[in-house]
Symmetry: C2
Subunit: 328 residues, 2 copies
């Protein structure tokens, strides 16, 4: 029997169906309503998609990877609900956040339940030996994402963040989840040690690359397409890599005053946000960040070389090219 | 080689050591400090203890059960941190709650991390086939405990709770965690279907019995030994089984006015708390609750009959007798 080869559209549909089937219950409605609300709020589904394609790259099959991949998407959305409470963010993907639409107690608990359902999803279908490996990979990403958010919260009160601290934080908070989702896909496909290590590197560089791109888009994107207000990170006082670079590059310019204000007041307001974006542009900070993003992109392409060409590797590369060229 | 037989004290020490070894890291300190704070705050460790003894009842061995049993204790403490935020409780076990001592953001995240560490703990040492079973049991308890808290939050806004709703809530919120901890111990010991079903029934009845006893002690215990203020549930307007029984039994008495006030004002204050406790006593509500608790106790003893007598069954029974006779 020949293996069915799936298109990107078919895989996306499988992901959506699996998510839909994750919440058969209606009760308690006070928890399942907010869970469905966040799960069907236009997420890009990048983590499950890349996890499934990683499995396909290794084994030419993807069926077993669907449920665990969706588990990573549930984990990701769990972090969004809880992070939004901690950061007191009013909107996400252009809509009210869960704690704003309901309340904080509901948001805490809906997040917890979403995570519980994520673990259940992994345990639904895998053979015992692979199940044990994937659970450990999932556990690692869960621990790291919490520790990363812990560092992030720490940073909000600190004025002396250096780039190496920043990387430790986004490594854990953002990169690890994508990395582990991709590694899990490989484990399900039966990847050998070299392949797993390549997938780990691909996922890690993708995670960092995406985060830098997000930070950049926060300042340069088209407001409506992006789904959030431009300069949100500046308003909230986030010490992104862009700010850390600005600290180096504004040093002998008058723009250093604006940066000092950002640090002193833990963020900027109104016209200062626009001025800062102009200053970042003028001083070449955006160009440097774009170069860094391009460096990650090249590293990924290089790590992918050890995989034989197949249909799913082609799709993986397509998604990669598409994602790194987005401007929203 | 003869198997080492452990005393209750030795098992307790093993539990404490395993908990101690669960947090080797120091960073991020903003998360590990609150985690250690709640984990070393005089918990009774009843769940891990009974989980380990269940394993011993089935197999005469307990070593493999230590880590997973501690995972259930971490899960339990995770629920305490998050529940205390949702319920806005200022104290727990005689000390400030995590969100009061630190803040809500820290408490949310420390709870999340504690849960992640719980999953990691299960995955540290079990063979793949048992690991898969125990993970599923753990997942079930995690889902149920979230759903139970969801129902509990729902109840706070409802005036027409009936006993069957109340049981559904405490079944999920309290009984399931203990039930699953005991079942997991059995799974690790290699229990057969009949034994697992008996352990499930033991755990379920223990969970309900303990909850009723907690509700009773909230109104009748010695304040200092109990570690929390007497009548806390009355002040917070919790519709415990005691309140639901009172609704039936106060019907034709003047005390119904006090109960109506409890419902209308979502709780009682000051001297009304004392008056309510007296009314519950006078109308025989406490006696009925004591009878129910004794019914659960007898059911448990009956379920235990299918297990052959061994050292660990003896310890299990000792813990049972001790716990059901506590007055604090």
């Amino acid at each position: 029997m020949e293996l069915k080869v799936y298109t990107l559209e078919e895989i996306s549909k499988k992901i959506e169906n699996e998510i839909l089937n994750s919440f058969p219950q209606e009760e308690p409605a006070n928890l399942y309503e907010p869970i469905k609300y966040i799960m069907f709020s236009k997420g890009k589904r990048l983590r499950p998609l890349l996890s499934i394609l990683a499995c396909g790259m290794v084994s030419n099959e993807i069926e077993n990877a669907i449920k665990p991949a969706v588990a990573f998407e549930l984990l990701h959305n769990f972090t969004l609900i809880h992070d939004d409470i901690m950061d007191q963010s009013p909107t996400r993907r252009g809509r009210a956040t869960v704690h704003k639409k309901w309340n904080e107690a509901i948001a805490i608990l809906a997040g917890d339940l979403l995570l519980a359902l994520a673990y259940r999803k992994i345990s639904e279908s895998l053979p015992n030996d692979i199940h044990s490996k994937v659970i450990q990979t999932f556990n690692d990403s869960f621990v790291e994402v919490c520790e990363g958010q812990g560092y992030d919260m720490d940073f909000e009160d600190k004025k002396d963040i250096i780039p190496v601290d920043y990387f430790k934080m986004i490594d854990k908070k953002t990169a690890k989840l994508l990395e582990k989702a991709i590694v899990a896909g490989g484990q399900i496909g039966g990847a050998n040690e070299d392949q797993l290590s390549a997938l780990s590197s691909v996922g890690y560089n993708l995670g960092l690359g995406f985060q830098l791109q997000d930070d950049l888009l926060d300042l340069t994107a088209d407001n409506e397409k992006f789904g959030k207000a431009i300069g949100k990170d500046l308003v909230e006082g986030k010490k992104t890599l862009i700010i850390l670079k600005a600290k180096e590059m504004f040093n002998d310019t008058p723009d250093i005053n604006l940066l000092n204000k950002f640090y002193a007041e833990n963020g900027l307001q109104g016209s200062d946000v626009i001025k800062m974006i102009e200053a970042l542009h003028k001083n070449g900070v955006f160009d440097i960040i774009k170069k860094e993003i391009s460096y990650y992109f090249q590293s990924i392409k290089s790590s992918l070389k050890i995989f034989e060409e197949n249909h799913y590797k082609e799709l993986f590369t397509q998604v990669l090219n598409f994602t790194f060229s987005r401007d929203y």
